[in-house]
């Protein structure tokens, strides 16, 4: 129930990989859907959003984990939000310094990383209970998983919706882009498609292991 009782996790490869596959924030936990659906209308936007979230995840995870023994329970959420907002503001200025075009195309969604539940969820459920090393590795995994998920959506939506990837034309000039794919409904279509694919892969794998183990091993 309390932080003391939580087992300190040993940092293994699984600490990192969990965020990418088993507990992928987008495809498994279905968290942080707002940026996932909103800014994935192009590959570049998806990469930028993913990296920005990755940075905020890792930086806030580090700080929360470092301060975990000093933060009183009653004000922990307020503290996490201040920490997250700080790093989001830093990212906001940095993106403006890197490219104003990118900043304009991401719009308000940079600032909205503050309320991305992936980040607050990690701070509350993991970073506030684990040592810094584990928190950083786990946040990295989650961030990479989030970025990959955005990339999955962004690439497909840009390819179908504009016929390009990162601005480079892929199809012949005769290709008529499916504009709906870069509009909000396209986000839902593509997300649905990916969820379907991942669920199918998971079920197939479970069936395979079942068959391999034989029916008697089932239920353990």
């Amino acid at each position: 129930m309390t932080t003391v009782l939580h087992k300190q996790e040993q940092v293994t490869l699984d600490t990192f990989l969990r965020g990418i596959w088993e507990e992928n924030p987008v495809f498994v936990m279905l968290l942080g859907m707002c940026p996932v659906l909103a800014v994935t209308n192009s590959t570049l936007n998806a990469i930028a959003m993913g990296l920005a979230t990755l940075f905020v995840l890792v930086a806030s995870g580090t700080l929360v984990s470092l301060l975990r023994k000093m933060i009183p329970r009653e004000v922990r959420i307020a503290t996490y939000i201040i920490i997250i907002a700080t790093f989001v503001t830093m990212v906001d200025y940095t993106i403006q310094a890197i490219s104003l075009d990118l900043y304009n195309s991401l719009g308000a969604f940079i600032q909205l990383i503050v309320v991305n539940c992936v980040i607050l969820g990690r701070a509350e459920a993991y970073a506030s209970r684990q040592r810094v090393g584990a928190a950083v590795v786990n946040a990295l995994g989650m961030g990479v998983g989030f970025t990959l998920a955005l990339l999955c959506l962004g690439t497909v939506r840009e390819l179908l919706g504009a016929g390009t990837i990162l601005g480079y034309p892929i199809f012949s000039p005769n290709f008529e882009p499916w504009v709906v794919m870069i509009l909000p409904p396209g986000g839902f279509f593509v997300l649905g498609g990916w969820l379907l694919l991942f669920e199918w892969i998971k079920q197939r794998r479970e069936r395979r292991t079942l068959q391999a183990q034989g029916a008697t091993a089932h239920g353990s």
Partner: protein, 239 residues
């Protein structure tokens, strides 16, 4: 969770204040640090973005100077004058090529902000560049790149009325394919609202600003034209 809360001794207010205060201080420090570091870079990015846009809407421009234009007169940027910022653009010889102005109107979803060029010699609009918009991709956002639509603004008529208080003919977007006058804008089919917004904002800005530009035209002459005759390289003291 609830049992845990009951068993727990109350945390003192001091500890909470200390934590929040401390975190807020770290937060403030980090934000200021990044702000100070990125401030000059962002300012430079914005300057380059404006410059690019100005040179795009005014053909043959190579240098620019910013002015504040108001009904009371024209003053260089920096002096605390009220009015609209206008960007005067000059060619390689230091002659005034045109003036770029910003204007806004509500489009289909949100405000559209554009920069457009005005040539005081031909009294016409010379080009537009969309600075900010959230129009529908594939439909409304064509105002930014559709070549046929952008052609409307190469020499769009902005002649002043006889009393020089406004435009002789209001600039307006008309239905796709029905443009018949040089002051009309041929809308994009399927993006009438966005096209009309562009027409409306140029008209509103033109009615107000074109007469002022013509009235204070001599103020735009860069001091360099005098200097150029003296043998100095043109454009040297222009920003």
């Amino acid at each position: 969770m609830s049992e845990g809360v009951q068993a727990r001794p109350q945390t003192s207010s001091l500890a909470m204040l200390r934590t929040l205060g401390g975190i807020a201080m770290i937060s403030g420090f980090l934000v200021v640090l990044v702000f100070q570091w990125t401030k000059p870079i962002i300012a430079e990015n914005k300057r380059i973005a404006i410059e690019k846009a100005v040179f795009r809407v005014v053909p043959n421009a190579v240098s620019r100077r910013d002015f504040i234009l108001a009904p009371e007169g024209l003053s260089p940027v920096g002096k605390k004058a009220k009015g609209e910022t206008v960007y005067a653009a000059y060619n390689a010889k230091g002659e005034l090529q045109g003036v770029a102005l910003e204007t806004v109107a509500t489009g289909y979803q949100d405000v559209i902000r554009i920069l457009y060029g005005y040539d005081p010699q031909c009294e016409c609009v010379t080009g537009i560049k969309v600075l900010k918009m959230t129009e529908t991709p594939g439909l409304g956002d064509k105002i930014a790149y559709d070549p046929d639509f952008l052609k409307n603004f190469h020499g769009l008529d902005g002649k002043l009325s006889a009393d020089k208080s406004g435009l002789a003919h209001p600039i307006a977007a008309v239905k796709h394919g029905s443009k018949s006058e040089p002051w009309q804008i041929d809308s994009i089919s399927g993006a009438t609202i966005s096209s009309k917004a562009i027409g409306r904002m140029i008209n509103a800005s033109g009615q107000r600003m074109f007469p002022l530009i013509q009235r204070y035209l001599s103020g735009f002459r860069p001091p360099v034209t005098v200097a150029a005759q003296g043998g100095e390289p043109p454009g040297s003291d222009l920003q």
